[in-house]
């Protein structure tokens, strides 16, 4: 793997393996369903040339987000049959053929990835305009047994399936503009920020994982921008860095079967050789339309199959925090003052519902049972009842999930102390915060 100083250069063309690209004459920013107002096509490239061969999706007005099955035999993509119709997830043989509709979403489904064990994950849209939200669903490859694994609010989108079997998502933050990368288990448990290095207004997406575990993605300056910088986060690094020479103009990145990257820059597609100091070679540029996305049509190593330990029949999950005072938000790494309770609030249509308080022990630990599959956030309460620290984002637990955390927005670089949390030595915990007693609604 190259280090962060790898330079991206740009001389032209060379051969490559089988590739399919998404070609569009016009690319728009904003809503995922409005990306290609004049349509788009999935086109197969002629290996070793800059020429395109057949259009794989002649029946579609617009297509996007192609993915290849692990055995290389099938293509999954988001498609719009006619202009204005609903985007759905479709699948075709990689060699071409009749498309099979996988999803039947009411508002629209985009950005799908293959999972092992014959499942897929995809992004399901809700609402329109300013009320647009999205969640991530998992279903069988057939489309059956679709179920949500994110529980907003916000706009969750599938980025990619990581080799560990986890899903890399992107989601809007509290300001509704910034988009951060998160990791979640395919059963919806264990949601966590990939890194706590999100800058205000930064839009992170189009993310892929390289063979060594590096996450590479496009960081757009605003939600209105269609291109941005190419950044990567190396394994173990605290923060992502911009790849030198790739500060702007990038729309997408894909991994190729030979370990190279394919990037979309200024309407053209380039392969990037990471072993040769980021040397770029032109793969596609055409007056017929911009190459905005690419995918290698080849078998590739499946990601790990994730084994869920949830108990879906349970309607609650549990939160165990080892030290609520541990935080990265202040220089000392610890919240000033004495935290005595943690308050759990659930998001409702009209505001927030106070589910209740649980005691915080002197070692900072707390242990509470909360409702499953609803957006919740936490507030730390001081001795006088004051809110010492309030969580700004929303989270959730799944049924039967035991969600552990080391602190409240704690440093990801800090391993927990080795001690028995005092909250677990009590016999009246986990505090049940699932009942209706004492609930209050905040506007």
């Amino acid at each position: 793997m190259q280090n962060s100083s790898t330079n991206v250069m740009a001389p032209p063309t060379h051969g490559h393996g089988a590739i399919a690209i998404v070609r569009a004459s016009v690319v728009a920013s904003g809503d995922l369903t409005q990306r290609f107002p004049q349509g788009s096509q999935l086109v197969r490239m002629i290996p070793g040339t800059q020429q395109t061969a057949d259009v794989l999706t002649p029946q579609f007005f617009a297509v996007a987000d192609p993915r290849v099955s692990f055995d290389g035999s099938k293509l999954l993509f988001a498609g719009q049959k006619q202009q204005g119709s609903i985007w759905q997830i479709w699948e075709i043989p990689a060699a071409g053929g009749t498309a099979r509709q996988v999803t039947h979403c009411a508002v629209g489904c985009v950005r799908a990835v293959y999972l092992p064990t014959h499942e897929i994950a995809y992004t399901s849209l809700r609402g329109v305009g300013a009320a647009r939200t999205s969640d991530v669903y998992v279903s069988a490859e057939s489309g059956a047994d679709a179920h949500a694994i994110t529980f907003g609010p916000g706009m969750f989108e599938v980025e990619t399936a990581l080799r560990s079997g986890r899903l890399l998502l992107s989601s809007t933050g509290v300001d509704g503009h910034a988009r951060a990368l998160s990791v979640v288990d395919p059963d919806g448990s264990g949601l966590a920020l990939l890194r706590q290095d999100d800058g205000a207004g930064e839009i992170r997406g189009a993310a892929e994982e390289l063979a060594d575990g590096t996450i590479i993605f496009v960081k757009r300056p605003t939600s209105h921008a269609t291109t941005g910088a190419l950044e990567w986060l190396h394994p173990g690094a605290l923060r992502a860095v911009t790849i030198r020479g790739a500060e702007s103009g990038y729309a997408s990145v894909a991994t190729l079967d030979d370990g190279q990257l394919m990037v979309s820059r200024s309407g053209a597609l380039y392969s990037v050789d990471l072993q040769l100091s980021g040397r770029q070679e032109l793969v596609y540029r055409s007056a017929k339309g911009a190459g905005v996305q690419a995918v290698a049509i080849a078998a590739h190593a499946p990601v790990e199959a994730y084994r869920s330990i949830l108990h879906p029949e349970r309607k609650t999950g549990r939160l165990l925090c080892l030290d609520a005072s541990s935080t990265e938000d202040v220089a000392s790494g610890r919240i000033a003052g004495h935290v005595t309770r943690v308050r759990v609030l659930a998001k409702e249509q009209t505001g927030e519902l106070v589910l209740g308080d649980a005691p915080v022990e002197v070692d900072g630990s707390f242990y509470a049972t909360v409702p499953a599959d609803v957006p919740i956030r936490l507030e730390l309460i001081g001795k006088k009842g004051e809110v010492v620290k309030a969580q700004r984002s929303w989270m959730w637990v799944r049924g039967g999930e035991d969600r552990g955390c080391s602190g409240c927005h704690e440093s990801q670089a800090l391993a927990p102390e080795n001690r028995s949390p005092m909250a677990l030595t009590r016999f009246d915990t986990p505090s049940s915060l699932v009942g209706n007693a004492g609930k209050a609604v905040r506007p």
Partner: protein, 662 residues
């Protein structure tokens, strides 16, 4: 004085066999009544260890290099191979094996005399050290040492050899002029590796396991310091929060003179649900600034713990460590990650110049490795020892699981070649399983391998772990040894895993590794390997199996059916009923022996097998009993754990002496 010796402890008299038979029948009846609701019994009873797993292919002998030394001129690399009982002589220029020198059984460590003319190889299972002429490679003599010798070093004169005896928890001080043991010094818990300080005044001893302590406290390990002039223990330096300290290196004084010892830093008191959040098992090294004088006490040693892991990527099971001669680099092998980390000693020193509080915080920092690691370089499988050449040009790394040596160019800090030591090329089932056992890549983020918690080929790490759901913080259980567990199903303290395939397959994947885990074929291989693990020697039992007087008296206590008052002991209160010698000294059921605490959600626990029991303290399901005697004197007030309240001190001592022979 010992009296007439009894017959082998493994042979039972007719009366004992009859008594066992009656007792077992009684126990079976009682147990069936007690556990009629437990389907686990039926499934466990029908499964034998040999039904699914093939016997290991004993005829295939791998080399398994574990220890390295270089001749002073760097021409010869001496490689100790634990599975073939040989020391190989490798020509470093030709990169090939020149000689095979037969040594004792299960060699583990190697030392070279100050003049470079003599080599000493520790033979763990022989309780001996083989002395070899470094020019002719002839074996000169065999030196008797303590139990389970591993690490060894001479002093600066070359007249004294210090040998760490793992099973004896001590260090043999050998007078090399006479070849006799001058004394034994008490070390910490399971001393493995030793090193002579650069100034020759001290010998450092790294202890693999933490001191025995209550199970609800973090472990504290010990670096034992020996004063070479007086040949006494000079200091017992606490290394808090860590276990599994391994090899030792010392940077030159120009680079700070720090003593480096790889370790594992567990979070066993946190619930297992923390694994997905990371930081549950961390790996790094103790960086110890020695006292200025060998006579100074432990308070004069400054201990800093530095993690070598990254935020979401771990370098499990640090093992070997070496410094380049000028002190520019330190090399630490991660035996579970197949990586050697190259530490920039200058940056390390800078890190250590922080305030005391900041240095203390390094113990849990997962970002400091980014500051001090210059390279992560891939090695062969399961890298163990590492050594740098005297000119600082090359480093050699022993890859235990593929019988090779990785050669690293320290100028470029890249691997330049691999020396094939000539081990068998076929992979037996046992070897495949062994490879899996040491491989941390199967765990989420590479946090741990099987060997991480079962070091030294299946030993228990001696810690109690908060493993259980559904009630977090309850049912904290002591880790158990993997020695001689074939035929002792079911597994886990609650007996819920009917076989090892269940334990090491889906359950390990789901709850411990938090990953896809091993596939079914891999599980089969792994189980085959684990079932092949045995305590290699029992120093408490005479070679011919005869018992001492005390051991014989203890056996009588174990098999007694009458109390001291002459009353008949109910079958369920006899030792041998539940710890039946017919079934590995376990009855393979779960029984309530009154040891449950208020933090346990169950009261009946799996009856542990007693083979090798002396080697696996602490005891009871939660590790509360630090020594065998505590089981009866502190945790058996109502005689639920066998009738022991009538035993006097001498009888308990005898009983312990017998149990140690198992």
């Amino acid at each position: 004085m010992s009296g007439p010796r009894e017959s082998s402890s493994n042979k039972l008299t007719h009366r004992e066999e009859w008594a066992i038979g009656v007792a077992v029948l009684a126990m079976i009846f009682a147990v069936v009544l007690m556990f009629a609701q437990q389907p686990i019994l039926a499934s466990a009873a029908g499964r034998g260890p040999g039904t699914k797993v093939e016997r290991p292919e004993a005829e295939v002998r791998y080399l398994s290099p574990v220890a390295l030394q270089l001749s002073h001129d760097g021409r010869w690399l001496y490689v100790v191979c634990e599975d073939s009982d040989v020391m190989l002589v490798v020509d470093t220029r030709a990169a090939r094996v020149l000689r095979r020198v037969k040594v004792g059984t299960r060699p583990k460590g190697i030392a070279i005399s100050p003049d470079g003319k003599t080599l000493y190889v520790s033979d763990e299972t022989s309780d001996a050290v083989t002395e070899i002429d470094a020019q002719s490679f002839a074996v000169r003599r065999t030196l008797k040492v303590g139990w389970g010798p591993v690490g060894l070093t001479t002093d600066r004169t070359g007249d004294v050899l210090y040998v760490a005896n793992t099973l004896g928890n001590d260090v043999s001080v050998i007078d090399l002029r006479t070849g006799t043991e001058r004394k034994r010094l008490e070390a910490g818990h399971y001393p493995e590796y030793v090193a002579l300080s650069n100034d020759g005044t001290r010998v450092y001893v790294a202890n693999l396991l933490a001191r025995l302590a209550p199970p609800d406290r973090p472990p504290v390990s010990e670096l034992t310091v020996i004063d070479c002039a007086k040949q006494v223990i000079a200091a017992r330096v606490d290394v808090p929060g860590v276990i599994q300290m391994r090899h030792i290196a010392e940077l030159p004084s120009s680079a700070g003179g720090y003593v480096l010892v790889p370790f594992m830093r567990p979070k066993n008191l946190n619930p297992l649900v923390q694994i997905p959040q990371g930081g549950y098992l961390t790996h790094g090294m103790a960086v110890i600034r020695p006292a200025s004088s060998s006579a100074d006490g432990p308070g004069s040693y400054q201990v800093t713990e530095v993690l070598l892991d990254n935020i979401d990527h771990y370098y499990a099971d640090g093992f070997g460590v070496a410094e380049t001669p000028e002190g520019r680099w330190a090399l630490v092998t991660a035996s579970g990650a197949d990586v050697v980390s190259v530490v920039d000693a200058t940056k390390l020193r800078r890190l250590l110049m922080r305030s005391a509080a900041q240095r203390l915080a390094l113990a849990n920092r997962l970002d400091s490795a980014n500051e001090i690691i210059a390279e992560r370089v891939a090695t062969g499988r399961n890298p163990t020892d590492v050594i740098a050449s005297a000119d600082g040009q090359f480093a050699y790394i022993a890859n235990r699981m593929d019988d090779t040596i990785s050669v690293m160019d320290m100028t470029r800090r890249q691997m330049v070649s691999t020396i094939d030591l000539g081990g068998p090329k076929e992979l037996t089932q046992r070897r495949r399983g062994e490879r899996l056992f040491y491989d941390a890549s199967y765990c989420y983020q590479g946090q741990m391998a099987c060997a991480t918690c079962h070091p030294h080929e299946g030993l228990s790490d001696g810690l109690a772990w908060s493993l259980e759901t559904p009630q977090l913080g309850r049912d904290v259980v002591e880790n158990r040894t993997l020695y001689s567990i074939a035929g002792t199903e079911p597994f886990k303290w609650n007996g819920k895993n009917p076989d090892l395939e269940t334990q090491d397959g889906p359950r390990t994947a789901m709850y411990i590794f938090r990953s896809q885990g091993f596939n079914s074929k891999e599980v089969e291989d792994l189980v085959g390997y684990i079932f092949s693990l045995h305590l290699r020697q029992n120093p408490h039992l005479a070679g011919d199996g005869t018992l001492t007087d005390a051991q014989a008296r203890g056996r009588a206590m174990f098999f007694r059916d009458k109390s001291n008052s002459g009353a008949i002991i109910p079958p369920m209160q006899r030792c041998y009923t539940c710890h039946s010698p017919l079934t590995h000294f376990t009855s393979r059921v779960q029984l309530n022996v009154g040891t449950a605490t208020k933090y346990d959600t169950i009261s009946a626990f799996d009856v542990p097998q007693l083979e090798g029991v002396a080697m696996k303290p602490p005891y009871l399901h939660n590790g509360e009993a630090l020594e065998l005697e505590d089981i009866w004197t502190s945790y058996n007030p109502e005689d639920k754990h066998g009738l022991t309240s009538d035993m006097n001190k001498a009888q308990l001592n005898d009983l312990i002496e017998y149990l140690k022979t198992l």
